[in-house]
């Protein structure tokens, strides 16, 4: 069944040898894998650009920082908002001149370097057939009995873990340490990445897992499983935004600009929900798949700018570590 | 003539000196008390122990700096004469070609040697399937196939029964005659020497004495030997 795709890939690769310009896009592993949004985006863009789009997947920012100005990347996609400050300071990224009015993020976005291509809300996901009274606020979560077990990700190793830190800090401010002290007994364990944590949740080892409000959409659409829900909190949810940027040293400036513009097109954006399992960054809600529209949706978005986040990060990390060292 | 010319070997605090010659084509037994240096002398001759001083000379050729395998000697040790992981055939064949690259003639010689020691048809076996006597025969077959000018025996049959040992010694004698070899052997048992040696040399207190014909040696034993023999 997959053979045609592979065969097509080989054919395209060989036919593209000659003078076709190559656009090199650094992307996270998940993005470029067969099950991520990468392949269909590649196919769609190549139809318009007369070019060969090639992904190089891995840990994008560390790789670009290691390579410095000699990097072969034209575009970097899949950066998180926690690294934009470091990325910006490196001077390796160029600004764009795109019109940001089509953006449909729940917050204002005016960054002229980093362009959102999808977003989501962090949320605790649970099994609605087992947990009868899910918390409707962070306070309620903290007040739950300690035998409700939650798996989170380590903020030092995982981006989603870091957003939880910022989320708690935004909601509780100076009382964040206290909040962590209440949450810690319920935390079954802390994992290196999202995959381990989510695996433990689907295995039934944990009652709740730190994930995204859009996670249930996968189970509904791909597995017709309605039992997974995201708990929606009154205090609001922290935003996760994934970004793309043009590399300053690119020799394919026009192609890179074209790709950046392509990101904001409906063609690109409609591919996001069911391949990235997140919300598209520039697509009105009425064009979302119905399942996404029907998902529980937070009332309030929480987001710290990169400077605000940088200002509280070390303190928040220390509070977190202290809470778990008791 | 195998000459030990002003030889001195040092092992820790132990010192062995030898300034003797062994007759070509003859079998000489080194006899003496435990710890007197018999095995050390053989090890030095075979090239396993570096010389502190002196030279080892075989027919005007200086062997002192040659590796053990280049000295034209076949060795029979107290134990460990065969490689357990190789077949009987391979064990013998190693004597002809350390790389086990055998031409037809070599193969024939290996088979002939095996047949000569009574192991015909057993070439494919591993030593673990053989008896102690048969293992000794494998080693002898190798010496036979090697046909080295010098055979060095370090009590190889000490663990065998009297009858078997006699059988092996006479086999050694036959092999030596067949290959016209000069034999040096170490033994605890004067009877071994009486059985196959032509000459005997006393090894005592770190000194190798000159070999003398065995009749003279046993009829008129030197004092150190007398103490050893208990006569």
């Amino acid at each position: 069944m997959k053979f045609p795709i592979i065969a097509a890939g080989i054919l395209m690769a060989t036919s593209a040898v000659a003078d076709t310009p190559v656009l090199t896009v650094y992307a996270p592993d998940y993005f470029g894998s067969e099950w991520g949004p990468g392949p269909s985006i590649e196919a769609a863009f190549e139809e318009t650009c007369a070019c060969d789009l090639q992904y190089v997947t891995g840990d994008v920012l560390p790789r670009v920082l290691l390579e410095g100005e000699r990097t072969k990347a034209d575009i970097v996609i899949g950066l998180n908002t926690d690294v934009t400050k470091k990325a910006r300071e490196s001077g390796l990224f160029a600004t764009h001149t795109l019109d940001l009015s089509p953006m449909t993020l729940p917050i204002e976005w005016s960054d002229d370097t980093f362009l959102p291509f999808n977003w989501g809300y962090n949320a605790f996901v649970y099994d609605n057939t087992k947990l009868e009274n899910p918390p409707t606020s962070f306070d309620e979560l903290l007040a739950m009995p300690d035998d409700v077990k939650i798996v989170i990700q380590d903020p030092r190793a995982s981006y989603s873990g870091l957003t939880l830190l910022l989320w708690v800090k935004s909601v509780y401010g100076d009382d964040a340490a206290e909040a962590w002290a209440k949450l810690a007994p319920k935390v079954l364990t802390v994992t290196k990445g999202w995959s381990e944590a989510y695996g433990m949740f689907t295995d039934g080892e944990a009652d709740m897992v730190l994930s995204y409000t859009t996670s249930p959409a996968y189970h509904i659409i791909a597995e017709e499983d309605l039992s997974k829900s995201a708990a929606i909190f009154d205090e609001g949810h922290y935003l996760t935004i994934e970004l793309a940027a043009k590399v300053a040293t690119t020799e394919n400036g026009d192609l890179a600009d074209a790709f950046m513009a392509f990101i904001l097109t409906p063609e690109f954006q409609t591919m996001i929900p069911t391949s990235n399992w997140s919300y598209p960054a520039a697509l009105p809600e009425d064009q979302w798949p119905s399942v996404f529209v029907e998902l529980n949706y937070p009332e309030k978005a929480i987001f710290l700018s990169e400077d605000e986040a940088a200002a509280v990060r070390d303190e928040a990390l220390a509070e977190w570590q202290n809470a778990f060292s008791q | 003539m195998l000459r030990l010319d002003g030889l001195k070997v040092t092992q820790g605090t132990f010192e062995l000196v030898a300034d003797v010659a062994f007759e070509r084509g003859r079998c000489t037994a080194l006899i003496g008390p435990s710890g007197a240096g018999k095995s050390t002398a053989l090890a030095a001759i075979a090239g396993f122990v570096p010389l502190t001083r002196g030279r080892i000379i075989w027919c005007d050729e200086d062997l002192s700096d040659l590796a053990p395998g280049e000295r034209g000697m076949s060795m029979l040790f107290q134990d460990g004469n065969v490689f357990p992981h190789l077949t009987v055939f391979q064990n013998v064949a190693l004597g002809l070609s350390p790389q086990l690259r055998l031409d037809a003639d070599m193969k024939r010689r290996v088979h002939a040697a095996l047949e000569r020691v009574g192991l015909a048809g057993m070439g494919g076996r591993k030593p673990s399937a053989l008896s102690g006597g048969q293992i000794a025969r494998v080693a002898l077959a190798r010496s036979l196939a090697q046909a080295c000018p010098i055979m060095v025996l370090d009590e190889p049959f000490a663990a065998l029964g009297p009858a078997l040992k006699i059988e092996m010694l006479s086999l050694v004698q036959e092999v030596a005659v067949d290959t016209n070899a000069t034999v040096l052997m170490v033994s605890h048992d004067p009877d071994d020497a009486k059985r196959i040696a032509d000459n005997c040399a006393l090894v005592a207190d770190g000194v190798v004495s000159a070999p003398v014909p065995k009749s003279e040696f046993f009829d008129n034993p030197p004092p150190a030997l007398r103490a050893y023999l208990g006569t």
């Binding site: 840990d59 030092r156 364990t189 999202w194 295995d203 996968y218 | -």
Partner: protein, 518 residues
């Protein structure tokens, strides 16, 4: 031992080349990272806590693994039963499991809703939590008990059967047998086994974190990861890597000092026949308990993976093929490098041998992250890293497997030289003839076991490839993570099963090849 009057030159050339390559891979890459770093920052109290925890958990893990391995190895050494060979092969399995697979397998046995707690709840006993130091230890014992058992078992098998016969003729009871025959052997084998497991556990990261239940279980490797990912602070990463080396060097030095030279005699390769009559039921219990502990999580992995195995996409099977290819390449390299280095070690004098052997063990203390990053920094200016991704992976995996090969090879070669060296000398067996007809046959067991480990370790590796891969040449472990990231947990479980099955198969083929006694 008599000084060799002659030397075989090619061994020092090959050995020297291998040792240089290892030094480059370990210290050269570290140097590259330091060179690229802006400054070497100091360590925080959290970092020091990580250092302390790393040493503490690694010490306990090694102690437990080795202690528990003694009765298991003894039972396996003195009993013959149906399925013993299969069991010994299966013992290799946990060690080679990819971390994430093993963790989920362990949790499905010891977790809150795992078999053990389900069983306990039948008797009204409160569930026991695996998370915490207990979990770290359970996981590390799960990974390393089999390795310790195999190392000790080799020790047992190296005791000549003549000695057991002698002991039997002296009417030794189990205690006397242990004190007079087995203890001296263990004294030789245990320091090395302990050190090896200690070193393995010092570089533990995801296992310690996930089963340790939180940031209290932070190891140095996690701190390195944090320095890279969160702070992009190469100086700090390098500093932590240096501390990790320091700990390992201290442990290795200690083990070297404690272990006595082996006095194990030569035997005639007869199957070891034991005459102990005592305590058959103890052995049976020990073997059953160990098997249960090791096989239950494996069974859970099997059960989780089976349902989807036939619906795995082609890409997963292609990755599997690629992983097997890398594993075979890396095994070939590891065997070649291991033999070259071991031959050189055996020929060297005591101090020199110690130093070369130390170099051979360096990779075990190296942080895969630092090594990968350093290599990337070094290679990037000259070649496209993605073009050489699989080759680099094979080389690095081979280097990583080297310590496990040396562990068995060096004593085996020493033994061969000690007992058959003179015979080989007298026959003029030099160079390749000696290697081929004396040394390799005598080291077959160790070689087979080491090659099996190398193959399996390479199959499950996720270290260097993650940095070098451009996504077009995904190995099976990378594919497994990609499946999980795409919410496809069930397919991921099936991919994990494929990974485990292939690793085991490779391990079995090599190990089996080493153990056939004609």
């Amino acid at each position: 031992m008599a000084k060799r009057v002659f030397s075989v030159k090619p061994t020092s050339i090959l050995g020297g080349a291998v040792a240089s390559l290892i030094l480059f891979l370990v210290l050269g890459t570290l140097g590259a990272v330091i060179w690229r770093a802006d400054d070497i920052a100091g360590l925080s109290t959290y970092d020091w806590a990580a250092v302390r925890f790393t040493v503490f958990q690694a010490f306990l893990s090694a102690l437990l693994s080795v202690t528990l391995a003694i009765p298991v190895a003894r039972a396996l050494a003195r009993r013959r039963f149906w399925g013993r060979g299969a069991l010994i092969t299966l013992l290799g399995a946990p060690f080679i499991l990819p971390v994430i697979v093993a963790v989920l397998g362990l949790i499905s046995v010891f977790g809150r809703s795992g078999i053990v707690n389900e069983f306990l709840s039948v008797f009204g006993i409160d569930p026991v939590s695996i998370f915490g130091l207990r979990g770290v230890l359970i996981a590390h014992v799960f990974f390393n008990l089999p390795l310790a058992t195999r190392l000790l078992l080799q020790g047992w098998l190296s005791v000549p059967s003549e000695r057991f016969r002698l002991a039997a003729s002296l009417n030794f009871d189990a205690r006397a047998m242990f004190m007079r025959v087995e203890m001296p052997m263990l004294r030789d084998v245990i320091p090395g086994a302990f050190m090896l497991i200690f070193l393995i556990c010092t570089t533990s990261f995801a296992v310690a974190l996930t089963l340790g239940g939180g940031p209290k279980a932070t190891t140095i490797e996690l701190a390195i990861y944090q320095a890279f990912r969160l702070d992009f602070n190469l100086g700090k990463a390098a500093l932590l890597a240096i501390i990790q080396f320091g700990i390992s060097a201290a442990a290795a030095g200690l083990a070297y000092w404690v272990s006595a030279p082996s006095g194990i005699g030569a035997g005639l390769d007869r199957n070891v026949k034991r005459f102990d009559r005592s305590a058959r039921w103890i052995d049976a219990t020990v073997i059953a308990a160990a098997s249960l502990f090791l096989i239950l999580p494996l069974t859970m992995i099997l059960l989780r993976g089976l349902p989807m195995i036939l619906s795995l996409p082609t890409a997963v099977w292609l990755s599997a093929l690629r992983s097997v290819w890398v594993a075979l390449m890396s095994t070939g390299l590891a065997v070649f490098a291991g033999l070259s280095l071991a031959l050189w070690i055996v020929r060297a004098q005591r101090i020199g041998a110690g130093i070369i052997e130390g170099i051979g063990y360096l990779t075990i203390a190296a942080s895969p992250l630092v090594m990968g990053t350093g290599l990337y920094l070094i290679l990037f200016p000259f070649v496209n890293p993605f073009d050489v991704a699989l080759l680099v992976t094979a080389v690095v995996n081979a280097a990583m497997a080297l310590p496990f090969l040396l562990r068995g090879l060096v004593p085996a070669l020493r033994d061969a030289e000690l007992h058959f060296g003179r015979l080989a000398d007298s026959l003029g067996m030099q160079g390749w003839a000696r290697v081929r007809y004396l040394l390799i046959p005598r080291a077959r067991r160790a070689l087979g076991f080491g090659a099996g480990l190398a193959a399996a370790l390479s199959m499950g590796d996720l270290g260097v490839i993650a940095l070098f891969s451009d996504g077009s040449a995904q190995t099976l472990p990378l594919q497994l993570y990609a499946l999980m990231s795409a919410y496809r947990m069930e397919q991921a479980a099936a991919a994990a099963l494929v990974l485990v099955a292939l690793s085991l198969l490779l391990f079995w083929i090599f190990d089996r090849g080493g153990r056939t006694d004609a």
